[in-house]
């Protein structure tokens, strides 16, 4: 589904990613773990095309999208949930969903009703402005907004950041249900425990490089990695 | 070592650039270039033409060529060009007139800068132009030191030949004092006593209204001022002023709008049909440039003035000028075109009379000089260098043949009647 090959990314003059490679197969939830500032968000942005890598390749559904404009990548079926949610604060919840809608009428397409069955909490606040929603509501809205574009691949950047444990659990359940819907997911996380419950495979990132890759069990077995890079 | 050479080459290049900038022209034209030599005489005209100038006469024009006033300054320049053609066909003691123009953007500092450039780099004999009063006054002080004769042909402030007058400055346009006096002379003959005085709130508007009222009360002591008000220049909406005028119930309205306010004010007067209720007199209200722009919207029966109309006086001289101007530029001249035209002829005639390229001789010849202009004789008054030229006041009327209004019942106020007496000027100058 998605493959990043040896990507190097920069912010201005500072070099952030040093040859990161990773892969997400169809139907997988892959977790990118790492401390604050390890480069997780940059990986997400590089894949989405927001911070195009200067070297290396990103391949999505068999096509090289390294130099493709962001909106084209999105139209190819990649959904993006940004790290601090980035809800449009002046738009109501409904409007936030409306402008993202690219549904069409085909079977199983995401529309508002389907969204509301997944996130019932959103149904009651459709006319509330995005800026006035709580953190949990905003996070659900961010995911819902990405879904309105009918993606088959989802980038989730730190979805649980700053949320209460109860809300995190609910959100993780919902993300799990997305996999059942057939979505592949690449998720960046700091919150190791909840992420590991969902993930099929794990990459550990530190200082812009991949330090470990493998299954959840393998990570749990490797205490050195956990201690060194994840502060568990 | 090579790396240093590369870095240094960049620095050296920039150094050369800087030096070149300081020196460019500075060395290229170290002295003011002499105007090109006068062409060889085609034929000898006998003893009358004994004097021969050894070079052409160079004239510099500094005027506003960007922004709203351009409608006048282009006409002035074109009138000047036309006259220069006529003059050069004949020659001034074998010499021709050459001229260059500079754009001062209605900014006094730019005007000064260009005046310096024309005098010290181009080496012009005479300077002309100046739309902006501030520019004219600033340059006037400069040319006083430089001793370069300068003719102001558009700025109307009375200060130029009044308190700020001196030997090297000449004024070829009825100044605010003359316009105010002319208006008073005309309106004093009408049987009215209740006056509303309005104008643009800057030096020009106040100057005209003040002189008008001073003269009016001298001529007709019974005259009564029922309202006086000034609006800020660039006023977008004249409704309040017009209702104020109406409320005061005057018999005559005298308005002195600045250039920018002319058209909107005339429109507002037209829309309010004010000219049907009372006598409305607008300074420069019947000039061609404004009336043409207004088309059929200009109010009928409105009184206005202009130093020049292309259709009046209906003399052969005027017709000849208008036809030439029209043939050359495809339009009729407004008063600025006329001013530019006579300025060139005045300068040429002064040089002919002086028979010398010497500045002082030129000024001596210019003082008191009379020429025949399209509107009759005009004379440069010796004492204050103000051109004595007639002033025309008329009333707007629709003309079946044209898509704009023209002035009718035009009355010529002679220059002698309009110009303030010498004693007044002497008093202002403290002499």
């Amino acid at each position: 589904m998605l493959e990043a090959k040896e990507i190097h990314a920069y912010y201005g003059l500072s070099h952030i990613l040093f040859g990161v490679s990773l892969e997400v197969k169809k139907g997988e939830i892959v977790c990118v773990l790492g401390r604050n500032g390890a480069g997780k968000t940059t990986i997400m942005r590089s894949i989405m095309g927001l911070t195009p890598p200067r070297q290396g390749q990103v391949i999505f559904k068999g096509k090289d999208i390294t130099r493709t404009p962001v909106h084209k990548i999105a139209q190819m079926g990649m959904g993006f949930v940004a790290d601090n949610r980035r809800i449009f604060p002046d738009l109501t919840v409904e409007e936030n969903l409306d402008i993202a809608s690219r549904g069409g009428q085909q079977k199983g397409a995401w529309n508002k009703e389907k969204i509301f069955t997944l996130f019932p909490a959103l149904k009651n606040i459709t006319s509330r402005r995005g800026g006035y929603c709580s953190g949990g509501e905003q996070q659900m809205l961010a995911v819902a907004r990405a879904l309105m574009g009918n993606p088959d691949f989802l980038l989730l950047d730190e979805p649980t950041e700053g949320l209460a444990p109860l809300v995190v659990r609910e959100l993780m359940e919902q993300i799990g249900r997305l996999r059942e819907e057939g979505l592949s997911i690449l998720m960046a996380e700091q919150n190791v425990r909840s992420a590991l419950k969902l993930a099929n495979r794990v990459y550990v990132i530190d200082r812009g490089e991949v330090r470990f890759q493998g299954t959840v069990e393998e990570l749990e077995a490797n205490e050195e990695i956990s201690k060194k890079y994840l502060l568990v | 070592m090579k790396r240093n050479r590369r870095m240094k080459s960049i620095l050296v290049l920039s150094l050369i650039f800087i030096i070149a900038f300081t020196l460019v022209g500075g060395c290229a034209k170290p002295t003011a270039p002499a105007p090109s030599p006068a062409p060889a005489p085609e034929k000898s005209d006998g003893p009358a033409q004994e004097i021969r100038f050894d070079r052409n006469i160079k004239i510099g024009i500094v005027d506003t060529y960007t922004g709203p006033p351009t409608v006048y300054t282009y006409d002035a320049r074109d009138g000047f060009t036309l006259a220069a053609k006529e003059i050069n066909a004949e020659g001034i003691h074998g010499a021709k007139i050459e001229f260059v123009t500079r754009d001062e953007e209605f900014k006094p500092d730019k005007a000064l800068s260009w005046a310096r450039e024309l005098i010290t780099r181009e080496g012009v004999d005479v300077l002309c132009g100046f739309m902006s009063s501030a520019s004219a006054l600033a340059v006037s002080e400069y040319v006083k030191d430089e001793k370069v004769p300068t003719v102001v042909w558009m700025a109307q402030t009375e200060k130029i030949t009044g308190e700020a007058g001196h030997r090297y400055i000449f004024h070829v346009i009825p100044n605010t004092r003359m316009s105010g006096r002319a208006a008073a002379r005309y309106l004093a003959d009408l049987p009215y006593t209740r006056f509303a005085l309005v104008g643009s709130d800057f030096e020009f508007g106040h100057a005209i209204i003040n002189t008008f009222w001073k003269t009016m009360t001298e001529l007709n002591p019974k005259a009564e001022k029922v309202v006086e008000t000034f609006w800020p220049v660039g006023e977008p909406d004249f409704t309040p002023y017009i209702s104020a005028i109406r409320a005061a119930k005057p018999e005559v309205v005298v308005a002195a709008p600045g250039g920018a306010d002319q058209i909107p004010l005339t429109k507002a007067i037209g829309a309010a049909k004010l000219a049907e209720e009372m006598v409305v007199y607008l300074h420069i209200g019947t000039d061609h440039a404004g009336l043409v722009a207004l088309g059929q919207e200009a109010p009928e029966g409105m009184y206005g003035s202009s130093p020049y109309h292309y259709y009046y006086p209906d003399t052969p001289e005027n017709k000849a000028f208008v036809e030439k101007f029209h043939a050359e530029y495809g339009r009729y001249p407004n008063f600025a075109g006329f001013n530019g035209y006579i300025t060139a002829h005045l300068i040429a005639e002064a040089y002919r009379k002086a028979g010398s390229l010497d500045t002082e001789a030129f000024i001596d010849a210019f003082e008191g000089l009379s020429i025949n202009s399209p509107v009759g004789q005009v004379t440069m008054r010796e004492y204050d260098h103000q051109l004595i030229q007639p002033f025309f006041i008329g009333k707007t009327v629709k003309d079946p043949g044209k898509d704009y209004l023209i002035a009718t019942d035009i009355v010529m106020i002679s220059g002698e009647d309009a110009i303030p007496p010498l004693e007044e000027i002497k008093k202002i100058r403290g002499e």
Binding site: A82, R86, F88, L91 | P68, V227, T239, Q262, G295
Partner: protein, 297 residues
């Protein structure tokens, strides 16, 4: 002696209010285009005054070509469209390169565009005074003593109409909603699969359309000259800031404060009337630095 002492107090006040309002609407027409481009594109577009001027010139050409009173109405419809197409050319050719540049650079570049277009306009249209025939003649009496030129009613109506139209556009159309989203987070809009470049172009065209509409509406009341945009521009910029950057209703309100404030300034000190807008702007900005209404920034 001041003319206002000659009028009864009530009607003075009312007429002053109406004068202030029609002045305010003129200002609003220029400022609203500016606020749209500031709000969404984040570009302070000094060339907005130039598009206003071009609107007036284009309207003049069209009105002359069609002729008669109908000419003006045709011009009012067509001229803003012509200007917005021209705006698209400027956007695609120049502005698109500016969005990620420092603000100061954007500001000065648009100012250079002003210089350029002033000369181009002079070359195309020449230097004659130009004016369009007023399409609605006569006066309307509002109160016993207060009458207003009929055309001013159109001006008075057009301001709220434009403001309402913009409000409808931004709140009740899909493109408008996307525009609001783009104003706060362009990247995220792209990430949703929407081409924000297109949105920017549309918004810039809209702002040029509004400036052109303003120019066309003003054309019958003034003389159309090169440089007419520069004088009104600085007031419009201040209106936009005072109103809160990008806030349409704020701009509307600020225009009214400026217009009515200036016309009451005329009552107090006619000589210093031009001082009033700047004084108002200074005081308001000291009191509420980010504008009287919420800024989108």
């Amino acid at each position: 002696m001041d003319f206002l002492t000659l009028l009864p107090d009530f009607s003075t006040m009312t007429s002053q209010v109406f004068i202030g309002l029609s002045r305010a609407m003129i200002l609003f027409m220029v400022a609203v285009g500016l606020t749209v481009s500031i709000g969404v594109l984040r570009v302070i577009n000094f060339a907005n005054g130039t598009f206003y001027m071009l609107g007036a010139f284009t309207a003049w050409s069209i009105a002359m070509w069609v002729g008669g009173t109908a000419g003006f109405w045709v011009a009012l419809l067509v001229a803003p469209l012509v200007v917005s197409v021209l705006g698209l050319v400027v956007e695609a050719g120049l502005l698109r390169r500016l969005y990620n540049r420092p603000r100061l650079l954007q500001l000065l570049l648009t100012y250079a565009v002003v210089l350029l277009f002033n000369d181009i306009t002079k070359i195309i249209w020449g230097v004659d005074f130009k004016t369009i025939e007023v399409p609605l003649k006569g006066f309307v009496t509002l109160f016993s003593n207060v009458s207003l030129p009929s055309y001013n009613l159109i001006l008075l109506a057009s301001g709220p109409l434009v403001a309402f139209g913009l409000w409808f556009f931004t709140n009740h159309t899909m493109v408008g909603k996307i525009t609001r989203a783009t104003a706060t987070d362009r990247e995220m809009v792209d990430a949703l699969g929407i081409n924000s470049k297109k949105i920017f172009a549309i918004v810039f065209m809209l702002s040029c359309y509004l400036a052109g509409l303003g120019g066309a509406l003003i054309a019958p009341t003034t003389n159309i000259v090169v440089g007419m945009g520069i004088t009104i521009l600085v007031n419009a910029v201040l209106v936009v800031v005072v109103g809160g950057l990008g806030n349409i209703w704020g701009t509307f309100l600020a225009s009214i404060i400026f217009g009515v404030g200036e016309s009451f300034g005329l009552l107090i000190a006619p000589r210093f009337a031009i001082v009033f807008p700047f004084a108002i702007a200074t005081v308001l900005l000291i009191l509420r630095p980010t504008g009287i209404m919420k800024s989108v920034w």
